[in-house]
């Protein structure tokens, strides 16, 4: 039945390329307009308008920002380790995109006789009649988020500047502390689902008209995961790395033009990824009314949930002042980690008796 490369039909590779392009373009456009949406939403929440002059109501602002950053002078400090300096923004940015490889954004659609599941790293096995994806999907995601820490550490270290180093160290300490609590919050999810495969997790949340979503069964884990994820991506109220850039310095002081733009794109791309993860693990992914019947409705629900969560991130940014570093570490280790562990114990006990 046509050409087979490595035992899989050619259509599989074409479909995978298509899915990669769609996901990549979606994340890029969302990142670009998330900057604009954030400025407008935070502006209105603070009883002021956001950008208004660039285009109608400021809609060309991201393009103007991109052009400005593109034309800025590229400065590399002489004593900086050049290779690490150049590669650090990439290491911060790429894992955010890589995580999208396992997130299911829809059910299975049928194109030219082949069934294609709307998840990049998966395929529909015709002999077994079901979708196979990475069966350690959640582990892959945790690994990718750990990679993001390297970008920050390298940026601080390679800049060869005392303030950048301190900023980078503090930021990476923050990220690894909160990664723990996030991981432990996810453990309670797979105590319920019994599988690490994201496709199965979404499938298990598809019953009972929305009340099967894990946010109803594990509200504490959802709350903890969302907060820890906000801290992971250096977002207010945990954004000391950014704030220090404004006040004194931070890990990205020595960066100019496109590399600086990449760090900030990395922040927003991470935000999209984290919201997509929360939507998949806790809000039922692409599930919604009649999502299984009409396969193209799945991505719509998924995108709606991701945008809703991004709105909540921006809402939190507009409201809260930022944490001091010691308050932040105390929160991560003394409050959130014990709560996450308590959640696992309670889930285990309740799960044993029910």
């Amino acid at each position: 039945m046509g050409i087979e490369i490595l035992g899989l039909p050619l259509m599989y590779y074409i479909a995978m390329l298509g899915k990669v392009l769609v996901a990549f373009v979606f994340v890029l456009l969302t990142v670009a307009y998330a900057t604009y949406a954030e400025r407008k939403i935070i502006g209105h929440m603070q009883v002021r308008l956001g950008p208004m002059r660039t285009g109608w109501h400021g809609i060309l602002q991201p393009i103007a920002d991109g052009i400005k950053l593109f034309f800025k002078e590229e400065i590399i400090p002489k004593e900086a380790s050049t290779f690490a300096f150049l590669i650090a923004p990439l290491i911060a940015l790429i894992p955010a995109f890589l995580t999208f490889a396992v997130i299911p954004f829809g059910g299975t659609i049928e194109v030219a006789g082949y069934k294609i599941p709307l998840q990049i790293a998966s395929y529909f096995d015709t002999t077994a009649g079901k979708v196979f994806d990475i069966n350690v999907g959640v582990l892959y995601i945790l690994a990718m988020s750990s990679l993001g820490v390297y970008g920050v550490v390298l940026a601080g270290w390679a800049s060869n500047s005392k303030y950048s180093l301190m900023g980078g160290l503090r930021s990476s300490a923050q990220m690894i502390s909160y990664e723990l609590s996030a991981g432990i919050a996810i453990i309670s999810i797979f105590m319920l689902s019994g599988t690490l495969s994201l496709n199965k997790i979404v499938e298990l949340q598809s019953g009972m008209g929305g009340f099967d979503w894990y946010i109803f069964k594990q509200p504490l884990a959802a709350f903890l995961f969302f907060i820890c994820a906000l801290a992971e991506i250096n977002r207010t109220p945990f954004d000391l790395a950014e704030a220090e850039s404004e006040l004194v310095s931070g890990f990205c002081t020595e960066y100019s033009s496109m590399k600086y733009a990449m760090f900030f794109m990395a922040e927003y791309a991470n935000m999209v990824t984290v919201c997509a993860l929360t939507a998949t693990l806790f809000l039922g992914g692409w599930n919604g009314p009649m999502a299984v019947a009409t396969p193209l409705l799945g991505p719509v629900y998924f995108v709606a949930k991701v945008y809703l969560l991004m709105f909540v991130c921006m809402w939190i940014r507009a409201t809260l002042p930022r944490y001091r570093y010691d308050q932040l570490m105390a929160l991560g280790w003394k409050v959130l980690l014990p709560l996450a562990l308590l959640n696992i114990v309670v889930t285990g006990i309740v799960g044993y008796f029910i």
Binding site: M45, Q46, V47, L49, T319
Partner: protein, 134 residues
Amino acid sequence: MNPITPIINGLKITLSHLFKKPVTLQYPDERPDVAERFRGLHGLKVSHSKAKCVACYLCPTVCPAKCITVEAGEDSNHDKYAARYEIDMLRCIFCGYCVEACPVDALKMTGEFELANYRRRDFVFTKDRLLEKK
């Protein structure tokens, strides 16, 4: 002290702000309405087609920024008048003391605040520029 309730209250407030009309004034398309007693550019009042100022030197005396320059002269009716009256807007602090000090009510402050200019010497407003246009 419950740490969660203040955060929730704050979030409620910001959400309610999202639905209010912003208070921003889109300058330069919309100009602000200044109050009646707004202290902007000075204006020399006229009566019977000449300035009321009698060059009594009270306004340069009271000015905290020493920005007013007055030189008296004698006009055709042998009355004292201000032959030279200049206010340096770069020094002026717009406090209004000169208006309060004037005994003949010859000086007032208008609502004009858009005083930007290109050359330093254009900021020294001479009598002809300060005179009210009737």
